[in-house]
Every structure is written in C-alpha cells, then in structure tokens.
Symmetry: D2
Subunit: 122 residues, 4 copies
C-alpha cells in the first residue's frame, strides 16, 4: 500500500490554497481607491467563485487601512495589496467543506486554513 | 533648441498607452464566465479610472465570444484575454483629449489611438 | 474535541495550492516567445521559491506548444498560459513533503497533488 | 481636414506607454528577494521586448531599497512594486525613437517620456 497518496481532505485543502494564491496574485497591484474598492471586491469574489469546487468567496477591502495609506500619500489611489484585504474562501467537494481565511499578521498577509468538515474517516 | 522634448499631446498619448497596458496585464488571466463578466468589466473600468488624467474607461466583455469559447471546452469558465474584450479609454490633460481603443485584429488584441483633440498648435 | 482542525499534512497541501495559484496568476498573460521562454521560467521558479515552505519549483515552458501556437498566428510572441507550462512544486514543512504538479488535461491546466510524505500518523 | 488624427510620433509615444503599463501590472506583486531580483529583472526585460516596436527594456531592481524594506519586516521576501524598480524603455518605429523612464517621485512610481527623436516634421 502506498500511504503517500493524498486523502480527499488533503486534496480539498490544496484546492483552497489554489483559490487563495489565484485571488491574491491576480488582483494585487490593481489601482484602488475608496470609490473603487467595492467593484474590485465584487470582481474578486465572482472571478474566483468560477474555479472548481469553490462554494463562496468573501472579500472585504479595508477602507480604514486604505484611507490611512492615502492620507500619507500625494496620490488619491494606491495599489491593492494584502494590507487592504480580508478574505474568506469556502471550498466544497463531495461531503467535505474547507474554510480558509487571509488576514494581516506581523505585516504579512497570512493565509490559513480555518476548518475542514466532513472527512470520510470521521 | 532641443526638438526631442515631448509635446503635451505626445505626453497625453503616452498616458493613454499606460492605461491600456495596465488594464490588459492587470486583468488578463482572470477566471471569467458569462455570469461574472459584468463584475470584472466594472472593476476594470473603475480601477483604471483611478489613474492620473484618465477621464473614462469603457470595457465590454464580449459574451458571444465567451460563450463560443466555452462551447468548445469542458469547463464552464475560461481566462480573460483580448479575444473577449472591447475597450475604449479617454485621457484628458489640460485642453487635450486622447481617445484610444482596443479590438481584435488578425487574432491579436490591437490597441490604437483613435483621436487627439486640443493640441496647443491647433 | 473538535475534529475539524487541519492536520499538518492538510496545512502543507494548502500551502502547495497557494504556490500553484500564485505562480499561475502572477505570470499568466506575460508576453512570451521561444527566445524569452527560459527567462520567464527561471523567474517563475525563483519568485515562488521565496514563499514560505517552498523547497523547489520546476517550470518547463513547452516550446513545442509555443511554436505550434505561433505558427497559427501573425505575431511572433503570445501570452503565457497553462497550455505552454509544465510545473512541479515541492513544499516541505517539518517532516512533511508535498509534491504537486500542473499539466494539461482536456484543455484545462489541471493542478494536482502527486504525493504527501511524512504524515505524523505514519 | 481632420487634425485630430494621431501623428507617427504620438503613436510611438502611445506604444511606449503600453509597454510601461504592461511591464508594471504584469509583474507587480511578484514575490522578490535579493537572491531572486536578477531573474525577475531579466524576465521583465525579455517579456516586454517581445512587444511590437520595443527595441530595448532595461530593468534595475533596486537592491538597496529591497534590503531596507526587508530589514523592517519579519519576512525574507516582499512583493515587487514601483519602489524597487528603475526602468528604461526604448520604442522604435520607422525613423522614430522614443525613450521613456520610470523612477520614484514623491512616493509614486512616475513613468515619463524622456525624448522623441526622428519626427518626420523635423
């Protein structure tokens, strides 16, 4: 028996990671202002929800952080980056449901698994 | 006299080019389906309108081409690329107004200046 | 007891997914030709190897596919997309090693886990 | 007579702008460290040189700025952004040659035309 084959739960966690990396690196760098924050958040949600097994994506552009960044700047917009984002992604495959989140930790946009429900061994 | 300094009209055309390159390379590769086409189009418009001297951006995701591409595919979404886009960008600076457009020509998403109004020499 | 907390192996698979999504959506859309294929492949490898727990990234730009695409086109370059890529990523965390790969399947760039070694329960 | 048609020099400046916007928004967000700076710089140069009428692209990743940013951070890499870049692009079309540059000004990565040589009216 080969015990190095992925379990269904591991495969679902891999899928959740793909969605996070896709979301971040597709949209990081987008010009963003308080006025355009909602439209990029909606586009990020709907774009990534197209990907396989992606049940739901919730993107919150943190307008407080955005306004703090713009207050220090001569410009009235900036580039979208992790500092301005809170994201939750739910992946569902078969009976499995994986929830993962991104938020800032020590100045780095940390992506983490929150929970995995429905493992077949449970 | 140095005659190689840019004119105001040339600078405005450079600005229009920046907006087109930005729009295309920021959003190319985004997962897109008929259901999510409107949200990515709106995000593209509002994101690029943040850039300096950008008066208006109009993005049309060609849903006919999108549905034709999906009909040939096992997937129900694809990646955003020039084949699916028609774009017009208007840059205004001082009394100058530059209009530029992108549409497919020979299978290549050709970006072109359409008009420049208000040159100081006129 | 909450049995929905992620295992170390599930967390490592999530990390491997992040690397794949990042690599793909950062670099998809890059102008590429047979002459520039090596430099983008090297940049992709070295960029993603910066990410946490990423032991090794191997990117092969499929020059046969690239030349086939260019033969059908009036242009001498095209946009980087999954059709032109074969990728292997190795993530290592503690005693765990996750190997994942991307290759075309039915016209879609399928990213899959290949193996997970070193689970603590083994 | 329509005096709003673009001149050859204006069209060349538009092309130069496209290259700058493409370069910036394709590669902004790439994970970068002092060790991987050279490979991303080379990939940026060779990718954009594929585009029409692009004679030469020179990208310098400012390792001093990169090390200063990393000294303030818990991570050993960061995201590529304008703060870390100096870029020169030369576009040539017919007898025209346009030189444009990007460098930081007031915390914003300013892209500017430097010179245009060979206008037909000269």
């Amino acid at each position: 028996m080969t015990d190095d084959a992925p379990t269904d739960a591991e495969a679902a966690c891999f899928e959740a990671g793909i969605k996070f990396g896709s979301l971040y690196h597709q949209f990081a760098g987008t010009p963003v202002s308080p006025d355009s924050a909602d439209s990029v958040a909606t586009a990020m949600e709907e774009a990534i929800e197209n990907q396989p097994h992606c049940r739901e994506v919730s993107v919150d552009v943190r307008e407080d952080e955005l306004e703090a960044a713009l207050a220090e700047s001569a410009a009235d917009y900036t580039e979208l980056t992790g500092r301005f984002l809170e994201v939750e992604i739910v992946v569902a495959d078969g009976g499995l449901e994986v929830v993962a989140r991104m938020a800032m930790e020590d100045g780095y946009p940390l992506m983490q698994l929150a929970s995995i429900e429905g493992r077949s061994s449970e």
